[in-house]
Symmetry: C2
Subunit: 225 residues, 2 copies
DNA sequence: CAGCAAACTATACGCGCGTATAGCGGTCGT
DNA sequence: ACGACCGCTATACGCGCGTATAGTTTGCTG
């Protein structure tokens, strides 16, 4: 295997440039709005070459997904490798490395594709949660996988809605200042439970009551003025 | 004002049917992929009438945004009105009432439009947070508005990524069982801080160190292997 | 040097979209 | 009773897209 057509050792080839351009265009304009012609122009090639290498627009998207997931896996393994770093710096470094792809990831997740990426992140998160579960006082009444999925969705909500957060903060979320501000906000939110244990108990009781009484049918008040 | 062209008392007119159909199509297919012809067919009218009433596809989208925001405001006022309900049932009822619009809201937020809706929800959330702030032991070091924006993004991450959560749970998030499961997971996550106070203190110290030392420049290891 | 395969370009086609405009029927004010 | 108006439809235009295919360059092998 001297120069195999393998996917990894390609970083300056036209194929890789097309893929990177596609990641940018898909991320900035969305899959539908992005055009093969525009991607080709950014990559400095002819539109026909895009089809020659990837076959179709959809296949190009799937190649982007695959590439991104490979990068996420590598990032996670890398973080797992040296746990000597403090939590914060690793989170910051990971966010910095992901920055160019977050727009694409956001779009891709939002329109329902990139399922495997979400599942992979959920799996990673589940390991993380399962590792922390033994340390908590009360046993969880929801499987770790489901909690992992919900939390993954919440965590991904931040990059997905990055423009809105940046607008609220007044600085770009990906700038150093914005990143710092966001990190502080996240630490604050993560370290303060939004519900007291009593609230939670009451809520759980309410849920049990709803579940026992009747399945929560929707109210008919949606047509009242 | 017998039959004014006002926006409110219209619920069975063709205009309202077009708007509802647009909400569905935009939500299910995305703004770009959705077509005026398809919306018109769903609404049972001719494509020309869509333009006659709304002028353009973009204007139709803005009308959808406006309508949705009005509904959100009404829902919030309604919830604020009777605080006798337990937290959970109001959350469930609100989610049920929002169900048909969550897909649209998700798409709309994800592609950067619907800024005013996000800001409105942030404002509501900020009031909620500001009301709860006096009760916490340590003073927050991040403005309430920013915490509200970040939390709003996280909360909206759930409906935005609903398909993925549903896939992980095994049941549709909007079904009664899925809603119950999701609510339990949310209660569990909300009632258990993800970071201990020590973790948070250490993280804040790390952030202060990073902020004081140098702005966090990105590593050069993204091209290493 | 010949030849061939792979990378790449040029050009064209067809389709479906948003948009524009002309025309038709019922309803209401006068 | 009648005409102006509004809701609504039918039809058409032009554009830009994804896709297809034929042609051109490049680089490697025998």
């Amino acid at each position: 295997m001297a120069t195999p057509p393998g996917p990894d050792p390609e970083d300056l080839t036209a194929r890789a440039r097309i893929r990177d351009a596609a990641l940018r265009h898909f991320g900035e304009d969305g899959f539908e709005k992005a055009t093969i012609r525009g991607i080709a122009r950014t990559a400095g090639v002819s539109p026909g070459l895009v089809r020659h290498h990837f076959g179709s627009k959809q296949a190009l998207r799937e190649a982007c997904d695959e590439h991104l997931m490979k990068m996420i896996r590598r990032l996670n393994d890398q973080v797992r490798a040296d746990t000597t770093l403090s939590d914060v710096s690793y989170v910051g470094a990971a966010r910095a490395a992901m920055a160019p792809y977050q727009l694409y990831l956001a779009r891709s997740l939002a329109d329902g594709s990139a399922a495997s990426i979400f599942d992979e992140m959920t799996r990673i998160c589940e390991e993380w949660i399962a590792g922390a579960d033994p340390g908590r006082p009360d046993p969880p009444d929801v499987p770790a996988k489901i909690r992992a999925a919900v939390f993954t969705a919440m965590a991904l909500g931040v990059p997905v809605l990055a423009p809105h957060i940046s607008r609220a903060m007044g600085v770009d979320m990906f700038s150093p200042e914005g990143d710092l501000l966001l990190s502080r906000a996240l630490v604050d939110l993560y370290s303060h439970p939004l519900m007291t244990p009593e609230d939670a108990a009451r809520a759980r009781a309410g849920l049990d009551r709803l579940a026992g009484a009747r399945p929560p049918g929707r109210r008919t008040e949606e047509n009242s003025p």
